[in-house]
């Protein structure tokens, strides 16, 4: 099954230009929710996104030469989705994955599957493709049976793209497909291949996108080069809520190599033949002073800032039960500051307005929304806007991708005929991307004399976790042009997905639980979705309180969790992690070393993940490092175990960085986190010595989203390990060495 790098190389990326193929798409409407399918459920009886796009040829096409093309509305964000979807399709079509070409999110070619977010891709698209492929294999088999004039039951497939009959008779998929229409709706309950005989699913097939990425292939939107392409740079103040005052436009317009200065209201961009000229011109304009256009940024901590703003209480859970008398109550407050996504590559888009049609290449998570936003912004008929996903640097939620796509479209609209490449500068990404919200949690729990948790109250405060745009009122350019578009009122994401309240409802079996989300619609700093949304904060709080309760009762933290967990799959990941970590024989806190754990089922719906960590603290300085981390994860049927491990490792490292050192800082006028010096993240010297990821094998079980499952448990494991090490608990992120040292004291 392993393929050489050369065979994998350069499999269709960058969407191959503006090729327009019209075919059956279900009508769509509906406002977007993260991860929600893009379309209306026209066939609710079908699995995954077949519900909204039931036609088989929307997903799979086979030509007469047996070349197979698979279509997905989801996008590659570095999570390895291309490889996994190819594997799923190959498995159910029963072909070599190397024969499949995958087309990802493209408004002219693929189903609208909404956002690629919230770890939904395998669930929505993977399930749809899996069942579509099974449908197609059934149709091929039936057609072959007719041609061979035998009963379909006598035919089989063997992974080589042929239908085999008795006596060595066979027909290739291409031969059959030539006279078979796939323009039919999928059928429910089509038999799937037996997991026991899987050939592709469950193997760590090499990721198809990596060879190009390590050899300098044109792998990213940043690498797109079109004939006559011009380079643009955007002109803005240092961060959201500011604008430049009287930039020297006339002088810069005369600079040699500058093609045009695009201005519309407060929207300002410079276009040049060379990228370096555009940057130089941008700097000259940016030398102008700036002014604040929004209220001053709060200079208070997260608790004071959020409690001073109006909030709307939303009851997440209100379960009364149990009669036991509490004997011990623990109450604590946990906080998290505003965080930056910090993609390594600042956001970029290429836009081309030609013959009245706008084509946009973007790394947005919502390519169909890029199209809607651009149509709205430019007053174009939606049919005349074509948006194609092209990879960018890793995105961990709504960073600047959507804004830069709208910026580029607006500029291209002014320069008809010229492809425009616009990349934000590092400091622009820091200053203008929506942040991960600052949050805090008040948590209170009580135990009875049998060490059972009998009361649980969780209050979480946060600004919105979803301000994703689907109109021009959702992007920066929309607010800057004249007349400006109005930003829609942010709305909370309802549970069970949840926004700030995501994972605020513990999976543990507790008789009485009261959970309230205090939704703060006003945003002193622009915020939106960042990997795991409220999950990171809520799990950080819940899992720390479990450790505090365990300590107060003198029970092992793992035992306390198991004593309150009835979900067997949750128990399994916890015990597997414990076994591989050596939990029972772990070094106990001795002032310097300590171990801790964290667990959650992401959204109580997706992958189960338990993380255990050992930290070592330098008492003199408060510096500490994670020696090792061990994770166990159950994501249902793991399509590509190595890719799952990669996601969890990444989540652990990112969560250590968020939890231990990250914080966006401000002055009243602007953000002061604008580069990697003012917003330090984890570097090689501080990543753990070793990370192990163990996967619970669940053959044939539904896919559960994995990409965000590690964040919460890893943050909590770190805090718990630190508390075990130094004997003092830290609850306010970031858990910096300065705070650790202050907690330790001099001796």
């Amino acid at each position: 099954m392993k393929r050489s790098a050369s065979q994998l190389n350069r499999r269709a990326f960058l969407g191959a230009g503006a090729l327009t193929v019209a075919f059956a798409m279900a009508p769509r409407a509906l406002a977007q929710l993260p991860g929600a399918s893009g379309g209306t459920a026209v066939r609710p009886d079908l699995p995954g996104d077949l519900k909204s796009t039931p036609m088989l040829d929307a997903w799979i096409r086979i030509d007469a030469k047996s070349a197979i093309t698979v279509f997905t509305g989801k996008a590659e964000l570095g999570q390895g989705i291309k490889t996994a979807l190819i594997q799923v399709a190959a498995e159910e079509l029963d072909v070599d994955p190397g024969t499949i070409t995958l087309v990802t999110a493209d408004t002219a070619r693929t189903p609208d599957e909404g956002l690629t977010a919230a770890s939904h891709s395998m669930q929505d698209s993977g399930t749809a493709i899996m069942n579509a492929a099974a449908n197609v294999r059934m149709l091929l088999t039936n057609a072959a049976a007719r041609t061979m004039n035998v009963a379909p039951e006598t035919l089989s497939t063997s992974g080589d793209g042929q239908i085999h009959g008795a006596g060595g008779k066979r027909l290739s998929y291409g031969e059959i497909a030539a006279s078979l229409s796939l323009h039919v709706e999928a059928q429910p309950n089509v038999p799937l291949r037996d997991p026991a005989s899987y050939r592709t699913i469950g193997t760590s097939w090499p990721r198809v996108d990596i060879p190009a990425k390590v050899t300098g292939g044109e792998a990213y939107v940043q690498d797109l080069r079109l004939p006559g392409m011009l380079h643009a740079r955007i002109l803005r103040g240092p961060s959201s809520g500011t604008r430049l005052k009287n930039p020297p436009i006339d002088a810069v317009a005369k600079m040699s190599g500058v093609v045009k200065i695009v201005q519309n209201g407060a929207f300002l961009a410079v276009v040049a033949e060379e990228e370096w000229t555009a940057i130089t011109a941008m700097r000259a304009l940016q030398a102008a002073p700036f002014e604040r256009t929004a209220p001053p940024l709060p200079q208070t901590g997260v608790v004071e800032t959020l409690t001073r703003l109006p909030s709307r209480p939303i009851t997440v859970l209100d379960a009364a039960g149990g009669t036991a008398v509490p004997v011990r109550t623990i109450k604590a407050r946990y906080t998290r500051p505003w965080l930056a996504h910090g993609s390594i590559g600042p956001s970029c888009a290429v836009a081309w307005f030609k013959n009245g049609e706008m084509t946009i290449w973007s790394h947005s998570q919502g390519i169909f929304d890029v199209r809607r936003v651009a149509a709205d912004l430019l007053g174009l008929d939606i049919e005349n806007v074509h948006a194609i996903h092209a990879e960018g640097a890793g995105c961990y939620g709504q960073n600047g991708a959507d804004d830069v796509a709208a910026d580029a479209a607006l500029i291209a609209h002014e320069l008809e005929g010229h492809p425009i490449r616009l990349q934000w500068m590092r400091e622009q990404e820091f200053g203008w991307e929506p942040l991960g919200p600052g949050m805090f949690v008040d948590l209170e729990a009580a135990m009875d004399d049998q060490n059972r948790i009998v009361a649980w109250r969780h209050d979480v405060w946060s600004t919105p976790h979803n301000t994703r745009p689907n109109t021009a009122g959702g992007v920066l350019a929309g607010w800057e042009v004249t007349p400006p578009f109005k930003a829609p009122e942010p709305q909370p994401i309802p549970m069970p997905e949840g926004g700030g309240d995501r994972n605020s409802n513990p999976l543990y079996a507790l008789p009485a639980m009261n959970v309230v989300y205090h939704f703060v619609p006003e945003m002193p700093m622009r915020t939106s979705a960042m990997r795991s949304l409220g999950g990171h904060m809520n799990i950080f709080a819940i899992e720390q309180l479990f450790d505090e309760l365990a300590a107060s009762a003198g029970i092992d933290p793992l035992d306390l969790r198991l004593a309150h967990m009835t979900d067997q799959r949750a128990r399994d990941v916890m015990t597997l992690a414990a076994e591989r970590f050596g939990w029972s024989a772990r070094p106990r806190g001795d002032g310097r070393r300590g171990c801790g754990m964290g667990f959650a089922q992401y959204k109580n719906l997706e992958a189960y993940c338990a993380v255990m960590m050992e930290v070592e603290v330098e008492r003199e300085t408060g510096d500490y490092r994670v020696k090792r981390a061990v994770a166990a994860v159950d994501c249902g049927q793991a399509v590509n175990p190595n890719a799952v491990a990669n996601q969890i490792e990444g989540a652990i490292i990112q969560a250590i960085s968020w939890t231990s050192r990250e914080m966006v800082t401000t002055k009243p006028t602007h953000l002061t986190s604008f580069d990697w010096g003012s917003y330090p993240i984890l570097r090689f010297s501080s990543v753990p010595d070793a990370i192990e990821v163990h996967i619970v094998d669940r053959p044939g079980m539904p896919f559960l989203g994995t990409a965000e499952a590690g964040q919460g448990p890893a943050g909590a494991a770190l805090a718990n390990a630190l508390a075990a090490a130094i004997g003092v608990r830290l609850r306010d992120m970031p858990l910096t060495p300065v705070k650790v040292k202050a907690a330790i004291g001099v001796i």
């Binding site: 050899t215 910090g342 640097a393």
Partner: protein, 160 residues
């Protein structure tokens, strides 16, 4: 003005202002996609190339200082069809998530391996410190560099 550069073993002439950072000339003038813009401030390493064998930030290397010193980008190590030992190791270890940082990582690691064919784990970490990865692919990057170095002190491998 016209300047002559030695890139990936070839002499290339480019039309550019000598102040232009190498990064933009490599990407736009010479059509190489390996070096990436990450910060333009010498803080992230996405743009790393080898200059006369040393790993440097091409975003802060004006053409004026390059002269005849040889420049090597990730394209100069190998191709998708015939990847170099280090590139193969990155593929083998699935040492990328988004991969945006990876070409820079490879170029920095290559400079180390050229100077020290079997570095210790501590030496690899110290050497790689200037390069950032936001996806958290660090453990795999370290494994890939160790694999390429043929180093035996490979740490506990993740279950694959």
């Amino acid at each position: 003005m016209t300047l002559t550069l030695n890139v990936n073993g070839q002499t290339r002439s480019v039309e550019a202002d000598p102040a232009t950072p190498l990064l933009y000339v490599l990407r736009n003038g010479l059509g190489l996609s390996g070096p990436k813009y990450g910060c333009g401030l010498g803080q992230c390493g996405a743009c790393t190339v080898q200059l006369d064998g040393e790993a440097v930030f091409s975003c802060l290397t004006p053409l004026a200082v390059v002269g005849e010193r040889p420049v090597v980008t990730v394209e100069g190590l190998g191709t998708g069809e015939a990847p170099s030992v280090l590139q193969k190791a990155f593929i083998y270890e699935q040492a990328a998530q988004c991969g945006y940082c990876i070409a820079g990582m490879i170029m920095r690691a290559q400079a180390l391996l050229d100077a020290n064919p079997s570095p210790s784990d501590a030496e690899i970490r110290a050497h790689m410190e200037p390069n950032l990865c936001r996806c958290g692919t660090h453990m795999r990057i370290l494994r890939a560099v160790r694999r390429a170095a043929g180093s035996k002190n490979a740490e506990t491998e993740a279950v694959r």
